[in-house]
Subunit: 512 residues, 2 copies
Amino acid sequence: MSDYDLRERLAGARAGGMPAETTEQLDREFLATEPKPVGRVSAWHDEADVVIVGYGGAGVCAALEAARSGADVLALERAGGGGGTTAMSTAHIYMGGGTRVQKAVGLEDTTEDMFNFIMASSDDPDEEKVRLFCDESVDHFDWLVEQGVPFKDSIYPERTPEQPNDDCLLWSGNEKAHPFRELAKPSARGHKVKNQAEGGPILFRILAEHAEKAGVRLQCDTRVLNLVVRAEDGRVCGVVVRQDQEERYIRARRGVILCAGGFVMNREMLRNHIPSMLEENVSPVGNMYDDGAGIRMGMSARGTAIHMDEYFVTVVWYPPSSLTKGILVNEYGQRFINEDSYHGRCAEHAKRQGRAFLIADNEIFGYPESGLELIATEDSIADLEAALNLPTQTLQNTVAVYNANAEKGEDPVFHKHADWIKPLDSPPYAAIECSYGIAPYLTFTLGGLRTRVGGEVVTEDDQDVPGLYAAGRNACGIPRSSWGYCSGTSVADATFFGRITGRSAAANEPWS
Amino acid sequence: MSDYDLRERLAGARAGGMPAETTEQLDREFLATEPKPVGRVSAWHDEADVVIVGYGGAGVCAALEAARSGADVLALERAGGGGGTTAMSTAHIYMGGGTRVQKAVGLEDTTEDMFNFIMASSDDPDEEKVRLFCDESVDHFDWLVEQGVPFKDSIYPERTPEQPNDDCLLWSGNEKAHPFRELAKPSARGHKVKNQAEGGPILFRILAEHAEKAGVRLQCDTRVLNLVVRAEDGRVCGVVVRQDQEERYIRARRGVILCAGGFVMNREMLRNHIPSMLEENVSPVGNMYDDGAGIRMGMSARGTAIHMDEYFVTVVWYPPSSLTKGILVNEYGQRFINEDSYHGRCAEHAKRQGRAFLIADNEIFGYPESGLELIATEDSIADLEAALNLPTQTLQNTVAVYNANAEKGEDPVFHKHADWIKPLDSPPYAAIECSYGIAPYLTFTLGGLRTRVGGEVVTEDDQDVPGLYAAGRNACGIPRSSWGYCSGTSVADATFFGRITGRSAAANEPWS
């Protein structure tokens, strides 16, 4: 395992490239995670004030801030190098309230609008976390810049899930879409780290260099197997690792921070918690170690996991952005969402329908860049209705109502923004397959340990698990439901709360 | 506590009668449930082959069968008497494949149709459990009859959620509704225990008398606090109880069976797992000890809980059954379900909409017996559309398509059965409020420990937790989702798998 490099081995694992046998093997490899009583530890192999489990975006931020707070920090990474899923990502980071980039491109934003938007677009939001996340968002941006993370003062002008260049800001879509635009003044908040390709590798490298300088010790090829717990009060005292082919005990004087990612690569856990993610044509997005081990270690020490049934999901039906002027309909010929909604929100609503089709006319049609399938073209809506086997007069009525309102530039039914409204009256008409289970969908998990704002893991009864912290997708954070997800919230949550959690753990009283 | 009687104290607790302060108190009383290492037990106060935690429908069946298998059985009940939620229920028991009652009233049914129906109407069904449940359903009916449980050879002829008399069979609705009628030959399977009022008290009393005769020892006013676990292999060895105002250890030689009910009365757990159940006008159905203690003890011993986000939900919008000839529409004026679906399935679909209204004309209108509110009456559908603030032409189009098809006795859009189809053309027209959060909804939880067909609790990795079993709503059984729930499946699951689990635990090797 020593010359193993995560990113290399994961080249094929992203977004559906992982072969089934690999995930099956992960399942088999998955060990039980019950905690070890500290009374049985005869000797500690190593120790630190703060032990970090998993060295991706959350882990490196937690390590860096803990070290800068004066703690001796040991970071443990199962792969041959750090980075995790953050280093594979575009590195959109959701920040707002008036960042340098927002101001440079002339966008207005306030902390309150950001707060209102996240609260409105979240399922069961943790208000205290959302408040802090927004209040300190500009500071977080500035901190990243201070570390040297590059952001270009620019905005990509087209509606797209990911900008194809190094532009910084992107309209994710949600902010400007109903009902959110009525609840908070819209602004673009997804900041991409400057790079023509994914920004994740740059983001991670910069933070990891700082962590090294700050004295963080990193041990790779080191799998954390269990927590070590004091039986009397449940205090987490350290971890058991497999390292150099033997099991070793590592003492954590002040705390253990779990930052080991979500569980989208663990088919057994998906079967238990999100069986719909095992359906056809649904591809996991993540790295192969996103197997839930951290979440389960936290649960083994009495932490409660919440939103375990929740996930991000998307089907990439644009660009071209002109398709936003089409309508998404279900098997009853009904619309079900304003089509200018964020792609993930559209996907979740489409998933809830039996079937879903995007209907376009000749004027706005373009082949989806993602390769979604064109399944019918007809010279009339009536013929398209028949070709799709929709009940007679249903799609026709839907289009008639849509067009009558579109003539006036309005959508009083689903409130799509006027920018995207035009009558569908230019034959031929096209239908693009968007059905869950048929069209290609992408997913990752959002459930994790319930934590306080400082990253402290809590029990089902809302008691602290002493000495235990979690961040990133080991915790349930800002992003917590498929219909409310927004690009950049996961990396933003991981880095922001990673930093806070590092400081919390560093300030915790040591056990003896 | 000694003269405490559950049913008396719970007279007001059913279906929304529980005051908020009582449930809050339950939350505060709720103790941590971490397991105790067996090495720390200095002396056992009592012991048995099989220890039953909770003495409701599942517990009494498990106890009875374990005792009849030759085991020494000790049942522990937190209340002053047994019965649990089963004894508060109507006691519909979902059974089929050709029971005596089905035959007597001339209904055909087969095991395969029952199996196909449950598989089709379940979210993430456990096929092995469903198979056994159906294969042995007639046997289960006969067994209940042998014990003396009375069932009248009759069927209640109206569409209703609960028959108001002692008739046995009831069409729950689902079986005859699309898409199920195409997937399995419909039959009525909800068997009510014979009684003018609820059948639950009769069912429980009869079974409890048999258990007593079979030698089951019952200790009430006994709260189980923790499991006792052997650290080396996680074997469950017994329980810690609070009894006679002291903590005592009780050894379970062969196994512990958790039968302590769901968690609908635990607001903290609802907040963690089903926060939507804390919304306005949603009332818990259950007894005050349905607080999830059993599920959490199982999790503390590494059992995995699944479908924790799932629940039964209903809004009782009929009788009168003639309202089935109306249409349910959302805030877009769209229908969203065939209205002859089971009331719980209708409710779940209504819950997913923003708003939901039942639209009826004068010919079929009757005030809902549950008291749902009539919120608008108008002389035309156009006026009703306006009165409900629905987008112009949406409800009108929906009714136009519905009526055009209804003239032919058809519903090609949602496939409501022809028995319930007539054009809505007899003014005035009425709208009844069915929105989640506004109309009164009822709920209980369906998530629980993942178990094998024999009741063995398993870990997230699909390993057995040695010595630990669960049944009833401590397990995730046949009923496991709101849209697929069917009246009688919960009591049927609890009694059927309770019996099997009692036999499994009795046959387990004792530990030493």
